[in-house]
């Protein structure tokens, strides 16, 4: 039997409270609230611009709430100039807490919608020692966001560069895809996007791509960037800009990952970085990684 769409909709609508009823419960003007909601819907549909929206409700909002009604300032378009107010991001991974469950790997893949073959975060697993003194060890490996990054040093076109917030970024629109950086990275953190897709397993995979470094690349097609360029972990910069932690930090089941500002001596990462358990990978190479491990 084919149930008309109306039936489904009405089920939802029964659950929904009337907007007016909600607004009636507060002291402020109900009509204004409804009008603004309508306006917001119009902005979303593209009927009016957000500037027009602000203009339209400016006076009413001021009278009703006594505040100036103005758009939130957008951060500047050039990612390099986003200095994050002097913050320098760093990550601390407590290996004693890591259980090697690969949640970080999966959540990173979901967050950044990375294609097959591109894995910003991997967990390297190994067994060390001789019986009976054996131990399973796990080493989660994102990009180290090195302070002296060999990948940036070798990029012929300056498509890879260091941001002031500590993150090493790649400009996909500039990268020529020579893969020199991949050869030069001592941590194997860089991945070439061969243009593969999960579309077969996951409907709509190609419909949209994560906007890494705040640059939207839109639909995934075999000829458009970032296909044919090199990619890597971004410390989830798009999430940082919204005030959220990187996906791997947020989802870690053992709370083994910490994230924060190494410029702030009171931040938790600064304190952990000073711990005698702290070390960094392949320190002898002088790359100065910003990912710090706790033994």
């Amino acid at each position: 039997m084919d149930i008309p769409k109306k039936v489904w909709d009405s089920l939802v609508e029964q659950q929904l409270e009337e907007g007016r009823a909600i607004l009636d419960r507060v002291d402020y003007n109900t009509e204004l609230g409804l009008a603004m909601a309508k306006g917001a819907q119009q902005v979303m549909k593209g009927v009016i611009t957000s500037d027009q929206f602000y203009e339209k409700f400016k006076q009413a909002v001021e009278e009703e709430f006594g505040v100036t009604f103005q758009p939130v300032k957008e951060s500047p378009k050039n990612p390099k100039s986003r200095a994050f107010g002097g913050k320098k991001w760093a990550m601390v991974i407590d290996l004693a807490k890591c259980v090697g469950c690969d949640t970080c790997t999966v959540s990173c893949k979901a967050e950044n919608r990375t294609p097959p073959g591109v894995t910003y975060n991997v967990v390297i697993e190994d067994t060390v020692g001789t019986f009976p003194n054996v131990k399973n060890i796990n080493l989660p490996r994102p990009c180290m966001q090195c302070d002296k990054p060999p990948c940036v040093q070798v990029c012929p076109v300056r498509a890879s560069y260091k941001l002031e917030n500590g993150i090493v970024a790649i400009d996909a629109d500039r990268c020529i895809g020579c893969r020199y950086c991949q050869v030069a990275c001592p941590y194997g953190s860089r991945y070439f996007d061969f243009g593969l897709s999960y579309e077969q397993e996951m409907t709509g995979y190609d419909a949209v791509q994560a906007s890494e470094y705040g640059v939207a690349h839109g639909r995934r097609t075999p000829t458009k960037e970032p296909v044919g360029t090199v990619r890597k972990c971004t410390f989830c910069m798009h999430r940082l800009e919204r005030g959220e932690e990187p996906a791997c930090v947020e989802t870690c089941i053992g709370d083994a990952r910490y994230f924060g500002d190494l410029n702030d001596p009171n931040s938790i990462v600064s304190k952990l970085a000073a711990s005698p358990r702290a070390f960094r990978l392949r320190e002898e190479l002088g790359t100065e990684p910003r990912v710090i491990y706790l033994k």
């Binding site: 390297i124 040093q153 020529i176 893969r179 050869v183 001592p186 070439f192």
Partner: protein, 434 residues
């Protein structure tokens, strides 16, 4: 001081019998047809694989991001730098005993450079961004420097070839050949071939040759070696000796190429080769090979002695894995010990045929040398615990490569056909007066 080094008596061709002529025509036809066939096949595979499927048509992966095309790129760069350095013996240092291969070495240097650049152009993921490599210059990137050096180097090669041929271009322009107009155009209006003008050409060639030496050694080839050597993530590459070995193996392949071209051409045209010159080139080859061997010995000794795990793993991948045949057969066999022995034994080192064979084997063997500079170090994972790699070129990669190699031969043949490259009739005695 100098006399005009060349005396052109283009009469010997009339001496050929007509039977020989038709035979030659046939050989030439077969040559063109087979090259064109391979070239067209290569282009078809290029369109089908590279253009339509993108990089997935290769066996490259994120563990082994560089493969066959990079290997062939450095192979041809080496060949070009080597040929050019050989030509500087003639034009830079006035060693006129090698005069007869001067222009052909310059032409092969240009053609090999074009081939090399085509290979690396194919290898990049976004050919549409290629001009970024000229617009944005990262001064800390060896690769960025290389790209600019290559442009300079090709320009220098072309100018040098022009001035080395100018006298003949002018003569051809004034002769009643069918292409007189074409040659007239190629003289770019500069038709003065008085003694003073030619003297000036010589001086210029000398200056260009001398400028070209550091450009070819440090800029083009040592620089290409440095692209690899600066990668501290790969201990096997990260040695000061690596760029030097690069230069030596360039000299080896360039010398071998020049010998091979010279002898092969004479063999086909059934004219005798200049025995003294070929032998002397043969001893040059032996010298370069011996130095290369010594350097490689130290490279391996020190790498092995240092017991760095990645380094040992790379050496054992190279010499003891399923790829070991490329090392033992090509790098150590064809490109090292076989020519060394051939050029050392008194019997074979005097014979033009054996020297020729040694050169051909070297040219083939150096392919293995180049592969082993690129692939084994990538197969070894960069960090313990990361997946190890595996790489063997796909059929599509091979056919495309063969197509480009055929393109190299085609370009060279066209150059020989159109331009006064052949200097068979240069009389050594006259050239050798200073």
């Amino acid at each position: 001081m100098h006399q005009i080094p060349v005396s052109y008596q283009r009469h010997s061709s009339q001496k050929h019998s007509s039977a020989r002529q038709t035979n030659l025509k046939k050989i030439e036809k077969i040559w063109w047809a087979s090259l064109l066939l391979v070239f067209i096949l290569g282009m078809v595979s290029l369109v089908k694989g590279y253009l339509l499927e993108g990089m997935t048509s290769t066996n490259l992966s994120n563990v082994v991001p560089w493969g066959e095309w990079v290997a062939f790129y450095i192979y041809f760069i080496g060949m070009s730098a080597g040929s050019f350095l050989l030509s500087t013996l003639v034009y830079g240092f006035g060693m006129h005993q090698y005069e007869r291969i001067g222009r052909s070495a310059l032409l092969s240097a240009i053609v090999c450079m074009i081939t090399a650049i085509t290979f690396i152009f194919l290898d990049i993921g976004r050919p549409d961004h290629i001009f970024n490599s000229i617009i944005y210059w990262n001064v800390t990137s060896t690769m960025a420097w290389e790209i600019h050096f290559y442009i300079l180097y090709i320009a220098l090669l072309v100018v040098e070839l022009y001035f080395s041929m100018r006298v003949d271009l002018v003569r051809l322009a004034n002769s009643p050949t069918r292409f007189a107009k074409f040659y007239g155009f190629l003289t770019f209006g500069y038709r003065n071939i008085s003694d003073e003008a030619l003297q000036r050409d010589r001086k210029l060639l000398q200056i260009l040759g001398i400028i070209g030496i550091p450009l070819a050694i440090f800029g083009v080839h040592g620089g290409t070696g440095s692209i690899f050597a600066v990668a501290k993530a790969r201990p096997f590459l990260n040695t000061g000796l690596f760029p030097v070995i690069f230069i030596l193996s360039a000299l080896v392949s360039g010398t071998a190429l020049s010998i091979a071209i010279y002898v092969a051409k004479n063999k086909v045209l059934k004219r005798p080769s200049d025995v003294t010159m070929v032998r002397s080139l043969g001893s040059l080859l032996v010298m370069f090979l011996s130095i290369e061997l010594a350097l490689e010995w130290y490279e391996f000794l020190i790498g092995w002695y240092g017991v760095k795990p990645e380094e040992l793993a790379t050496i054992s991948t190279m010499a003891g894995s399923s790829w070991a045949w490329t090392f033992w057969l090509f790098q150590m066999g064809l490109a090292m010990f076989v020519p060394l022995i051939l050029l050392f034994l008194p019997k074979t080192r005097k014979s033009i045929t054996w020297i020729f064979v040694a050169s051909i084997l070297t040219i083939i063997g150096v392919v293995g040398v180049r592969f082993n500079m690129v692939v084994p170090m990538l197969i070894v994972p960069v960090m313990n615990g990361l997946p190890g790699g595996n790489y063997y070129p796909t059929v599509s990669e091979w056919i495309t490569s063969f197509g480009l190699i055929a393109m190299c031969f085609l370009l060279y043949t066209i150059g020989e056909k159109l331009l006064p490259i052949d200097q068979y009739e240069v009389v050594r005695g006259e050239a050798n007066d200073d």
